[in-house]
């Protein structure tokens, strides 16, 4: 009888049959499997068909041309995980870029101009963040509004003119950082890696980072558990503002001029990179690792299209089809169409 009344742990606790390492990777890649697989296939395909693709020069070119998107996307990852969205990010970058250009033009020293641009970025982030978290206007309305205001501000600053900073002395440090190399490795690549690692660590190992996830996952739960919802919201928009400033410095560094014009596809590219990278658009899930994948995926497609001389008219088709197919791969895997030694889904009892 003692045996009978013994209470056994609930059924679903039993350990699943220990899977192999590969299976583990395949499983844990979660929502980004498809993109990861798609990226690998793309890279292999391009390496074979385009000899130039795998050259160091081309790789650094990919890094250089996607750093602006990457930096903005890292900022956007914070915002989206927290359950928001910053539509103003590309416009904010235009304003910070113009600020940097104008400060240089007015003879400010290199680092004063950089600090100025960062301060402006923070300020724009504060505007968004305060309207959203304290005045409590929907983030979509606020950032839609500031998208338009910032765009206009960038135009007003120089009356629509591009500020050429190429020959301004104070521009040199940024120019060198953005375009320079050490031991063949672009500073920009080093910067990108550091940025991503720091962002990933902040999200994973700080109270703030976990608060961002909690907020996006269940705002009310976060509030009831004493997380400062307003401050956390403000902070993610500050981060986005700062990201816009940094991205604009890279942009100006690359273009050697600050332009008030905004690439109309930039916002969509940034958001797409984050979402393709597996961050949930309703928040609470995802991370910068996925965002890096997303940026790389889009960047490699662009690069591949350019290298392979695909006709302008067909580029969009290739682009869209590759994206959908890659993500469909992941879906197929999740639905068990592509079996790879998958255990059963755990019981949801």
């Amino acid at each position: 009888m003692s045996q009978d009344t013994q209470i056994r742990p609930p059924a679903e606790v039993e350990a699943p049959p220990s899977p192999s390492f590969l299976t583990n990777v395949w499983r844990s890649s979660g929502k980004t499997t498809g993109v990861l697989a798609g990226l690998i296939i793309l890279v292999v395909y391009l390496s074979i068909t385009q000899p130039i693709f795998m050259t160091w020069g081309n790789i650094t070119n990919i890094v250089a041309s996607n750093s602006v998107v990457l930096v903005l996307a890292v900022g956007a990852t914070f915002v989206i995980i927290s359950g928001g969205l910053d539509l103003s990010t590309a416009s904010a970058a235009a304003v910070t870029g113009m600020s940097y250009g104008m400060l240089l033009q007015h003879g400010m020293s290199a680092w004063v101009a950089v600090a100025g641009a960062l301060a402006v970025g923070l300020l724009l982030g504060i505007v968004n963040g305060v309207l959203i978290s304290y005045v409590k206007i929907s983030f979509l309305v606020v950032t839609l509004g500031t998208l338009s205001v910032f765009e206009s501000a960038a135009l007003v600053m120089s009356q629509g003119k591009t500020i050429n900073v190429f020959s301004i002395e104070g521009f040199q440090p940024i120019y060198n950082l953005v375009n320079g190399k050490v031991a063949g490795i672009p500073y920009l690549l080093i910067f990108d890696v550091v940025l991503v690692v720091v962002a990933a660590l902040v999200l994973r190992y700080t109270t703030f980072g976990r608060g961002v996830y909690a907020l996006g996952s269940n705002r009310e739960a976060a509030r009831l558990n004493g997380i400062n919802v307003a401050r956390t919201t403000l902070s993610v928009f500050l981060i986005a503002g700062l990201a816009a400033a940094v991205a604009s410095l890279i942009q100006v560094g690359r273009l050697t001029g600050a332009s008030p014009g905004i690439d109309s596809t930039l916002l969509l590219t940034v958001v797409a990179a984050v979402l393709i990278g597996g961050t949930a658009y309703t928040g609470g899930d995802g991370g910068v690792g996925g965002t890096v994948l997303g940026v790389l995926f889009l960047g490699v497609i662009q690069n591949g299209l350019t290298l392979s001389d695909v006709s302008t008219f067909w580029r969009g088709t290739v682009n869209g089809v590759v994206l959908i197919v890659a993500v469909a791969l992941g879906v197929a895997r999740d639905r068990g169409w592509l079996r790879f030694n998958r255990g059963k889904t755990p019981a949801s009892s």
């Binding site: 009344t5 606790v13 009831l224 004493g226 997380i227 059963k344 889904t345 949801s348 009892s349």
Partner: protein, 504 residues
């Protein structure tokens, strides 16, 4: 009572108005350290509202709150937490995408230096859950867990924080008897150590075994406080609902008729329910008992087509396509799922639209909803099922928990299905309304329906069911009828998989 001089919390003349409702009307309450106070009342009487005010989640329109005898504005939950007021709210407040471990420590994640210490979080979460006798993978995402386990996570969070006042708003409503016992034991221990406890529950035995005092709310007014367990249950119930409740579970005089529901080798695709066979006749109520993870929830979901399943289900001889809720509903299987928030409510819609959701195919002609008929039917159902709402157009999430449940039950009951599969149908429903629901159930069976009730409340199963099937580790291990229908017998099978071979 061993209360010290100043009560830990005192609520004085608090009022709270929502559009169309005065949820609290000049209510007062005290809870002292070491005391366990039960807050009781009908659905919608203001219990949750009062606990939210104490927990800082809502602000009163009038009245004051005193903490340790000092008037205090509990401006937000963070303030409440700093004061040692920890609340388990009726609506689960978990982050579904985050892990069990992280949810247990949300808002107070242990750190090593400036960095979050994940190892400690996992270890301590495992410990805290083990103290509740819950063994779940702490790395699992909370959203993948059953309601009961989610509730346990929420409980683990509350009991692991250093609370001075613990508010449990129907914390036991999703728990099985065993888990409930365990929790109540923990609460009593905490109270002995000087923690003040305010508990809300519609389960009388819990109140009587745990609380020292019961405060009764009615329509937002505090109608009195009585000592427990010395006050007779009938008197407490009368204070709550304003009338006597006789013949609680009701009874039918109806002989089971033809077989309506035939289940052969029904198994869930995820393996949590092993092949199971049984039959239910018209006019019969069959109960399903079992622990968490015993597969009883999957049995209900599989019957209702909510999860992929194999086997054969027939209603009145006609086979039902499995794994498709629309087909199941069309075949006449009305399902009330146990996870109200995840699987039943339309949170952004009105009470009326929530209720008519299931009626639409029957109600509409050529795809058009006749709104006049709809309005009438909604009004009738609201009255018949006792849904307390200031208007049918009110958002369903603004109803009290018990009233949400009644609306969900009402929408299925009104369909007049030949088969009902009800998973925890009276979760969060007050005693008076429960008795009404039981009466309605009896009426349904009298008119020929076959009913399957899945419940973790054994008294409910024993009171209602003609037969009870007991699930254990994914399979039905026993069928209990007649005078064998006793809690001990059901418990024994639920826990061990078979009846004790002991002379009674």
């Amino acid at each position: 009572m061993n209360a010290s001089a100043a009560p830990l919390i005192e609520v004085r003349g608090v009022s709270k108005r929502y559009p169309g409702v005065l949820a609290l009307d000049n209510a007062s309450l005290t809870v002292s350290p070491g005391e366990i106070v039960a807050l009781t009342g009908e659905n919608g009487s203001g219990k949750s509202t009062l606990s939210k005010i104490i927990g800082g989640a809502e602000q009163p329109d009038g009245g004051v709150v005193l903490v340790d005898g000092v008037e205090t504005v509990i401006a937000n939950p963070a303030t409440a937490l700093k004061l040692g007021i920890v609340m388990i709210s009726q609506e689960l407040t978990l982050a579904p995408q985050l892990t069990v471990a992280e949810n247990v420590f949300m808002g107070r994640l242990p750190r090593k230096g400036r960095v979050i210490d994940w190892a400690t979080i996992r270890r301590r979460a495992r410990e805290e859950l083990a103290a509740l006798d819950v063994h779940v993978d702490v790395n699992a995402k909370v959203g993948d867990l059953s309601v009961e386990l989610q509730q346990e996570v929420e409980i683990a969070r509350a009991v692991s924080s250093k609370a001075r006042l613990l508010i449990l708003d129907e914390a036991t409503s999703s728990l099985s008897e065993h888990a409930t016992e365990r929790l109540l034991e923990l609460i009593r221990e905490q109270a002995k150590r000087g923690v003040a406890v305010l508990m809300i529950s519609h389960r009388m035995p819990e109140l009587y075994s745990t609380a020292g005092r019961a405060a009764v709310l009615r329509d937002g007014k505090m109608v009195g406080t009585v000592p427990l367990p010395s006050t007779p249950e009938s008197q407490l119930v009368r204070m709550m609902v304003g009338r006597e409740l006789n013949d609680y579970y009701g009874s039918r005089d109806c002989v089971p008729g033809d077989v309506v529901l035939q289940v052969r080798d029904l198994a869930s695709a995820d393996g949590a329910l092993a092949p199971t066979s049984f039959e239910v006749r018209s006019g019969e109520i069959v109960g399903i008992a079992g622990l968490v993870g015993s597969g009883k929830a999957q049995l209900g979901m599989a019957l209702g087509g909510a999860i992929p399943a194999t086997g054969e289900v027939k209603v009145n001889g006609a086979a039902v396509t499995l794994g498709d809720p629309r087909r199941a509903l069309g075949a006449g299987i009305g399902l009330v799922p146990d996870d109200r928030k995840r699987a039943a409510l339309l949170p952004t819609r009105s009470v009326a639209h929530n209720m008519t959701l299931t009626w639409l195919p029957k109600l509409s002609k050529f795809g058009v909803v006749p709104t006049r008929t709809e309005k009438r039917r909604v009004r009738e159902a609201i009255a018949e099922y006792g849904v307390k709402t200031s208007s049918p157009a009110k958002l369903i999430t603004q109803l009290s928990g018990g009233n949400q449940q009644k609306a969900i039950l009402g929408r299925i009951f009104a369909l007049g299905c030949p088969v009902y599969v009800l998973s925890e149908p009276t979760r969060g429903v007050d005693v008076g309304s429960k008795s009404q629901i039981y009466a309605l159930l009896q009426k349904l069976t009298e008119s020929g329906a076959a009913v399957v009730i899945i419940s973790s409340e054994l008294p409910e199963l024993i009171g209602l069911a003609d037969r009870v099937l007991v699930c254990f580790q994914g399979a039905v291990r026993g069928e209990v009828t007649g005078d064998q229908l006793q809690e001990e017998v059901l418990n024994a099978i639920a826990v061990s998989g078979h009846v004790h071979e002991e002379p009674s």
